[in-house]
């Protein structure tokens, strides 16, 4: 086939393109994914009965902001990775900054705590299940984000998958806080982070397999 024939084929009857379609799809994926994540948390795991009481503790809000900030930074990165030729900007670099800030807080917490409480600050009561439950809650978000990513045009597939996974993990963790009783900084710096990294790894693995176009 001649290229000029293809050009005429493609341009004939070309319709108006809806440039807001990507943003609408992203919002739909976030809302839908978060809703299913919430239903999983509330239905399967049960909401934390002490949730209302804990909102008066500063560490409650530190935990919420930690997950929310990572989720926002991840999401900005995801949106940029979905469009060819966009620079990533500063958002991806903010992610390690937020994690290190939590680690600094964790070290301060451990140093100032009495020696016999340190193990409890690190392991809490749920260290063994926390990362896996976060990954479970994040799964619908990961599926939704990858579904939108597929309809766009990522050119760095592994990064696009990993960023989708990290964003799903952070927002999943934010939803999971409605169930989770843990508030200690060392716990959040280790087990929450691990919970976010599981979907990140899954996304990095799936990226080159699912996102080709």
């Amino acid at each position: 086939m001649k290229t000029e024939d293809l050009v005429s084929f493609l341009s004939t009857g070309a319709e108006t393109v809806d440039l807001r379609l990507p943003s609408r799809r992203w919002l739909l994926a976030l809302a839908g994914g978060a809703l299913i994540a919430f239903l999983l948390t509330a239905g399967l795991l049960k909401l934390n009965p002490a949730l209302w009481h804990e909102t008066s503790k500063p560490m409650f809000w530190v935990r919420e902001s930690y997950c929310a900030v990572l989720g926002v930074l991840g999401f900005i990165t995801v949106v940029r990775l979905a469009r060819p030729g966009l620079r990533l900007g500063l958002a991806p670099m903010g992610i390690p900054v937020a994690v290190i800030a939590m680690w600094v807080l964790a070290v301060v917490t451990l140093v100032t705590a009495s020696p016999q409480t340190r193990t409890r600050l690190i392991l809490g009561h749920t260290a063994g299940v926390c990362p896996f439950l976060i990954a479970l809650v994040a799964a619908p978000l990961l599926i939704a984000l990858l579904w939108v990513m597929r309809s766009l045009a990522p050119t760095r597939l592994r990064w696009a998958g990993a960023a989708s996974g990290f964003t799903a993990g952070s927002i999943g963790a934010l939803v999971y806080t409605l169930h989770c009783p843990e508030l200690a900084a060392p716990f959040l710096g280790i087990w929450y982070l691990l919970g976010m990294l599981i979907p990140t790894a899954v996304g990095a693995w799936l990226g080159p397999r699912l996102l080709r176009w």
Binding site: M1, V7, G13, T16, V17, L19, R83, P84
Partner: protein
Amino acid sequence: MQLIEERLRSLMLPSLAGDAAAYRIFLDELAAHLRSYLRRRLSGLPDEVEDLLQELLLAVHNKRHTYDPKQPLTAWVQAIARYKLVDLLRRRSRGDMLTDPLDEDDQVFATTANDAAEAQYDVTKLLRGLPDRQRLPIIYVKIEGASVTDTAVRTGMSESAVKVGIHRGLRALAERIRRI
């Protein structure tokens, strides 16, 4: 470079608003840039140039909703071209056929080439494998030049089904070409 950016943008923005005439000129001029770029990059695979060029044009068409008017159009095209080129070489498992490593310096928009060859496949022939709800809207609208409304009447489909059929059909074509 700045001139090319302004020229292509002045064609792309009306294209996105539905101006088919501007879109045809845009694709024509883009093809000349891309052909010259691919010839440089694929000097070891001269037969692949026109094939990949057409695959690229189809990709630009299918993914044009990912262009952000605030971003340089040349950067958007360059990223798609580099992605498709790497993808082709990986599919052929012949990274060695690349004349030299893909570097950031080699610009898509450095030169143009208008002496077209023919691609080895024919998009219109590939259409035969598509289901009717995609194939018929594409034949009527994209080849015969009928309006979406007339096509809806002829096929008994709704107008939105015609548009969806064209859209999905072109994506399926791109996928088929990629697998050849």
